[in-house]
Amino acid sequence: MRRFILALLAILALLTDATAFAAIKVVTTTEDLAALVTEIGGDKVTVESIAKGYQDPHFVEAKPSFIIKLHGADLLVVVGRELEIAWLPPLITQSRNAAVQPGGKGYLDASQGVRILDIPTGQITRAMGDVHPSGNPHYWLDPNNGRIMAKSIQNKLSEMSRGDAAYFAQRYEDFDKRLAEAEKRWKAAMAPYKGLKVVTYHRSWPNFADAFGLDVIGYVEPKPGIPPSPAHTLDLQQEMKRQNVKILLVEPYFDLKTPNAISRETGAKVVVLPPSVGGVKEITSYIQLFDYDINLLVSTIKQTGTR
């Protein structure tokens, strides 16, 4: 009898141990963040993203099903810089989860310490369209920022599960090494096209252009978040002809009608370039995102015969 009770206690202890070492439940706002959390967290975490990679991250619906995800989360990782301002705050409030409230121990703003571009100076008004007062939130498209984000994630995960700190550190080292190798590859592929003039639909690509030497000379949107207007499109076409711009980058969630019209008029190639992991099925990791985008970009540039 006594032995039986001891055995039972041992089993119970094992069971409680198993729950104590359960994976950290992480919810991220975008798939890019989810991919980075997977890189660092490995099998010590479970990750879910609220927005899909092929979705415009500015316009996600605050569906109640996301409230349940946030309710059960140990850690929420956000892009920040007001990218999620239109939908995340009510989800967080309704999550009934103290940890993931801004400033809580399970809340991580991934934009800390990264290089932010397009920080507006002077007076900002809505006459400028959807300006982000604290800078362009599409910062993850610079691999070096990805490295900094991965480091923040590593620090946060280590803080939440001290016992696994060495594991997370080792995974970061590994990711850092692979990213550095890949960066060399990407930079080499893009080197012949340094300073190449391009036009983009939305201002999603300043960090990407900066990292890989592209020169963005205009946007299909007259102002951020404002749909194309005929007058602006005409101006843009003239400018593209004058500067001989042959590449037009479009995010997958925008309508191709105006870009195609511009393409017919100017002879520029429209490239639907996913800005996020999950933008197309093949992209399942942060490194694959750049692999895919740079391959697509280089092959299109070659088709246009520019340089």
């Binding site: 899909k52 092929y54 979705q55 415009d56 316009f59 996600v60 619906e61 605050a62 569906k63 109640p64 099903s65 409230i67 349940i68 309710h71 301002i85 239109a86 939908w87 995340l88 705050p89 009510p90 967080i92 409030t93 309704q94 999550s95 009934r96 989860n97 103290a98 409230q101 801004p102 400033g103 809580g104 932010i116 920080i119 507006p120 100076t121 809505r126 369209g129 959807d130 604290s134 978040g225 404002i226 749909p227 997958p252 969630y253 925008f254 309508d255």
Partner: protein, 442 residues
């Protein structure tokens, strides 16, 4: 010889004085200390030199004072210019030294804070402020409920911020031709244990869907007849009280139960003639994603309170609501469809017995281009105090969104009143918002 030397010495001194503004005071002290040994080497009329030196010292002191005052004033001005946006906000507000000769100098010796700086910490904690204008113009003939041709129906002012690590507060003040009132003003406790969410204050009661929405978030320029007939008018059920809701976690769908208690006076539906005549409300809401782009939202609500006939008479409301939404993720900014219906039953006790009344609306809204929405709505409702009186009618709506911050809406509305009159009206609505208005719940 001596005279020539003195002239030279004088020139050198003048040059030193001219350089003074460029040289720190202690540097000058050194150079003036270095000067006398040179003078001692030439004992040519020391008396004259001393006088000369004194005169120069006085002149220099005067210059130093005027320069010092001007410099201090300049520093103060520079400090007052708003700092260029930096990613990190300074922990303390910038300060300026009190100018030596300025008014008030001598009193406070410590640095003075400069006010009016946007980075000052007192302003960082200001709530998000927004104002939403709701302008309505009505054309057409309506003998039962005539509307003015032009009307600034409402200016909604909102203040929203986090209170402390445990709560946030939302205030919505509505200024309308009837005056200024607290449309809503409540605190939300978001970190309670047990999956609870509590709201305390004055708020829209969680009865159905349209009752919980602010006028500027509905897809129509007006409110459905059922809301006006059974829920007490355009404002609907809105009262001071406490609301507690809980997530009922299960593996299949989102389920939320809400219980609320109110003072008992709201919009003519409930009327507390005694302090104990509180009204209460219960709601269950279920939601499920059917696919990544479609979902179904169902709710049932019940409310009970005392009515204006007297403390012994109650009104009971029961509501059912269903919403179907479609929004493809890849084209989320171009396409969406929302179909919604609400059914409401009212049981009002009166001296001549209990009046059961039923009201409903069904509405559909479809986005057919990035900035264009088309919609229809059909209304039918009996009146709360006489169910033999039925008002009904259809509406057709077109909405244009110049941006997320403004909407222009046209609505054709036909109302067939119980009295026998039929009204055909065209409504134009302009909605425009400024400032930082928080996102709305789904």
């Amino acid at each position: 010889m001596g005279v020539v030397f003195i002239r030279r010495f004088r020139r050198a001194l003048w040059a030193a004085v001219a350089l003074v503004p460029l040289v720190p005071a202690n540097a000058f002290a050194q150079s003036s200390a270095a000067a006398p040994p040179a003078a001692e080497q030439q004992p040519a009329d020391p008396q004259q030199i001393r006088q000369e030196l004194n005169r120069l010292r006085q002149e220099f002191d005067a210059i130093r004072e005027s320069y010092g005052a001007r410099l201090a004033a300049l520093e103060a001005k520079l400090g007052a210019v708003p700092a260029a946006p930096v990613p990190t906000t300074p922990a303390t507000p910038p300060t300026a030294d009190v100018p030596a000769g300025a008014a008030g100098a001598g009193a406070p010796q410590s640095p003075l804070p400069i006010y009016g700086n946007p980075a000052a910490s007192s302003k960082i904690f200001n709530p998000d402020i927004a104002v939403i204008g709701n302008f309505l113009s009505t054309a057409g003939r309506n003998t039962i409920e005539p509307s003015p041709g032009f009307e600034m129906r409402e200016a909604e002012v909102s203040f929203q911020a986090v209170v402390d690590p445990y709560a946030r507060a939302d205030f919505f003040l509505a200024a309308s031709p009837e005056g200024l009132e607290i449309e809503e003003g409540y605190v939300t406790f978001s970190s309670l244990p047990g999956g609870l969410l509590a709201k305390v204050g004055k708020m829209k009661q969680q009865f159905g869907k349209v009752n919980t929405l602010h006028a500027h978030t509905t897809p129509w320029a007006d409110t459905p007849i059922a809301m006006r007939n059974l829920l007490g008018g355009d404002e609907g059920l809105n009262d001071a009280g406490i609301s507690v809701s809980k997530l009922l976690l299960n593996p299949w769908f989102f389920l939320e139960a809400t219980g609320e208690v109110y003072r008992g006076s709201s919009g003519g539906v409930f009327e507390a003639t005694k302090p104990g005549n509180v009204s209460w409300l219960g709601r269950v809401r279920g939601y499920r994603d059917l696919s990544e782009g479609t979902n179904l939202d169902l709710g049932a609500s019940i409310a009970r309170g005392h009515n204006d006939v007297g403390s012994a008479f109650t009104t009971r409301l029961i509501g059912l609501d269903a919403t179907f939404r479609y929004r493809p993720l890849r084209r989320a900014i171009y396409r969406r469809l929302v179909g919604r219906t609400e059914l409401m039953w009212s049981r009002r006790e009166q001296e001549d017995g209990t009046v059961p009344a039923f009201g409903m609306y069904v509405s559909g809204e479809y986005q057919f281009a990035r900035r264009w929405f088309g919609g229809v709505r059909y209304d039918r409702s009996e009146r709360a105090f006489d169910s033999s009186l039925v008002d009904k009618g259809p509406s057709v709506i077109v909405t244009f969104w110049p941006s997320e911050f403004s909407q222009i809406r046209g609505q054709y509305r036909q109302t067939r009143y119980a009295e026998g009159a039929t009204a055909n009206e065209v409504l134009f609505q302009f909605l425009f918002s400024i400032g930082a208005h928080g996102a709305h719940v789904f």
